[in-house]
Symmetry: C2
Subunit: 394 residues, 2 copies
């Protein structure tokens, strides 16, 4: 059915991380208050005048050194020194030279020392540069793609799709995964159903093109006749069917006029509940998995993990985390670039997914700033594509 979307040449895994798909992440990521000082220069520098100078300073070798530092640190979780660096990567220069480069990099704020006479670790700014210019998205291997497909296939309904997706993503990245349900505001109406449960109680059921179902109880001002409901149902579907959610109110708000005066209060009540359901932003749902992976976070444990767990429980925080990214393309937000303070030492990789060209929701991964960016981004992208395909099929 769907054969390895990653091999689509247009978005092949070969593209540098900073290109196309993630190009926006740099400039689009708004500098958070707290980090503005540290990273504004680099960010403004992307194509600007000021940064020219800085970029020129960082010749090819210094960039290689930074890349090597990031890779080693991500692998070992320990500050990396000059000697170890030349041993593990054939940089073709001596440790002393690397030390000089490191001094420059530290001066420019890309790396730092936990304490004097320790190795270096990348700063947020360093990771930023790494992601934007030094790394490539690592495409999923064939077996991995097979596993993804196998795992996602056979989901029975939307809940199941989302549940499987989030677990899959957590497993692939070994981090905390977050998947947003296809949002109402970007979906179209597939069907509106009115079910009479009691004389003055009607249940309103909304079905979206992505298979999401939203229901709401309506307390009518008086008994609703079955014929009225049938009529209203027919008219609602005729007008709203296939329309985008935000457009619906304007399309149906003159409906009460079509009914007899006695029935209008009921019609109005139903409609206003419908509108409520449509705009209710807090109905944005989110699913989470992989919190156990937080235990692999770092050494200074409880202090790091608690605020993260707290953040993860706040739907609002999560939604903003995913939601504020630019549409479509992949977004990487690193450390203090995240607005929420509790996530200051985490990075968020997110991307939109959708049934067609358009993204209807976001999914992503939350992990330590010290994460394997190429691998994570590859996994996130691949999963998003497969989910999109599955949604489009159903």
């Amino acid at each position: 059915m769907f054969d390895e979307p990653d091999s689509d040449p247009r978005q092949s895994g070969r593209d540098p991380v900073g290109d196309q798909s993630t190009g926006r992440s740099g400039p689009a990521a708004r500098p958070a208050r707290s980090s503005a000082r540290a990273s504004s220069a680099a960010r403004a520098g992307k194509g600007g005048e000021v940064g020219r100078l800085e970029i020129r300073q960082l010749d090819e070798r210094k960039l290689s050194v930074l890349r090597a530092i990031v890779q080693d640190y991500v692998g070992t979780e320990e500050p990396v020194g000059s000697k170890a660096l030349v041993e593990r990567h054939n940089l073709g220069v001596s440790p002393a030279t690397v030390r000089n480069d490191m001094a420059t990099l530290e001066e420019d704020g890309y790396i730092q020392q936990p304490h004097t006479s320790a190795g270096r670790i990348p700063t947020d700014k360093g990771y930023r540069l790494f992601v934007d210019r030094l790394a490539e998205v690592k495409p999923m291997s064939a077996p991995e793609r097979r596993a993804i497909r196998h795992f996602l296939d056979g989901a029975v309904d939307l809940d199941d799709v989302v549940a499987r997706t989030v677990r899959l993503l957590a497993q692939l990245t070994r981090q905390v995964a977050v998947v947003q349900y296809p949002s109402l505001s970007r979906s179209t109406v597939r069907h509106v159903e009115l079910v009479s449960l009691a004389p003055a109680k009607v249940m309103l059921v909304l079905i979206t093109d992505t298979g999401r179902v939203e229901q709401r109880m309506v307390d009518c001002p008086g008994p609703a006749r079955e014929s009225t409901l049938a009529d209203l149902r027919a008219r609602l579907n005729a007008r709203a069917g296939g329309q985008r959610f935000p457009d619906v109110p304007a399309l149906v708000d003159d409906l009460p006029a079509a009914f007899e005066p006695a029935e209008r209060p009921i019609v109005s009540t139903v409609l206003s509940t419908l509108f409520e359901t449509l705009v209710e932003q807090n109905e944005e749902r989110i699913m989470l998995a992989g919190t156990a992976n937080l235990t692999r976070f770092g050494h200074d444990f409880p202090l790091t993990i608690q605020p993260v767990l707290e953040a993860l429980e706040e739907q609002v925080v999560l939604l903003r985390l995913l939601g504020e990214s630019a549409d479509g393309g992949m977004t990487v937000r690193i450390g203090r670039e995240n607005e929420y303070e509790g996530l200051n030492s985490t990075s968020v990789v997110s991307v939109g997914y959708g049934s067609g060209d358009e993204s209807v929701a976001k999914l992503g991964v939350i992990g330590p700033t010290r994460m394997d960016y190429p691998g994570t981004m590859g996994a996130v992208r691949a999963v998003a594509r497969y989910v999109g395909q599955i949604l489009a099929e159903s």
Copy 2:
């Protein structure tokens, strides 16, 4: 609307923990493999012959000592010694005497020493005795009850009720809270709706008396005529309406015969999907909150918390945790009494809740064995009652 159910005299907070509401927890809790040896005697002893002897050994003062140890340890998280004990509780005896009692208690397996010449901490068996015989459920205070009511009121739908409940419970107990959605198998059918989405695609929507909505896509073998669906809908509701879910299949499985031969495949397909939905046990949903409270767990951090987080991600584990308790009454499962190994150092307090007399689902709390049992049990019970009321109203 609902005025402080805790003041209901029948189940007033004054009852000893081991009475009525939790009486079953002792004997009902199956001895886990690993703990059978250590605690079977005490459990068998409840009213049996063997245990008589042991109970006789533990005179009133020794029980007081155990109670004091549990209380102090829960409060301080540190092993409690004989001297500190007599200082904080006026036991009316000297430390030396307490030491002797402690030796007995240790011999019988109620307390233990982390190492020689340290204070004592309760064992699982000690907590068990504490819960069964030495503590009282602590009723919620009036302000707390007000807070509960305030927090739960104003929930707009079932999702919201469950979400609020679980957050509330987590906040009250400062532990991890778990709430199961009203289960399908114990609910009755309020309404069955068939919605035609495409010629050969029908959406089946099930609405329960607790307000839960379950939907499933049906791929029909051929185009379904609207009149057939209407007919089937009417018949389904006539037969299944108000019935308990497990009874439904038997009540409707002769329906295809009532239709023209050409329509029967479609009817059969819809019915079989309906049956699937009814029995699908994995549709049991669960909501979780308060994982951040895990950080207050203990000192030996990552080791304790990781298996717990893993367990919490397994719906199956959670369901069994809640589900295996005896119906209705409150259940406390302590430490190794839990079957799942990762939860060997946690306790689970759970209770059924429901819209009427009968419990339709479970809710509960997971925390360290070293938890405030009276307070936790009080909170769990109070919340369960309020939720029951709210469900009954809607």
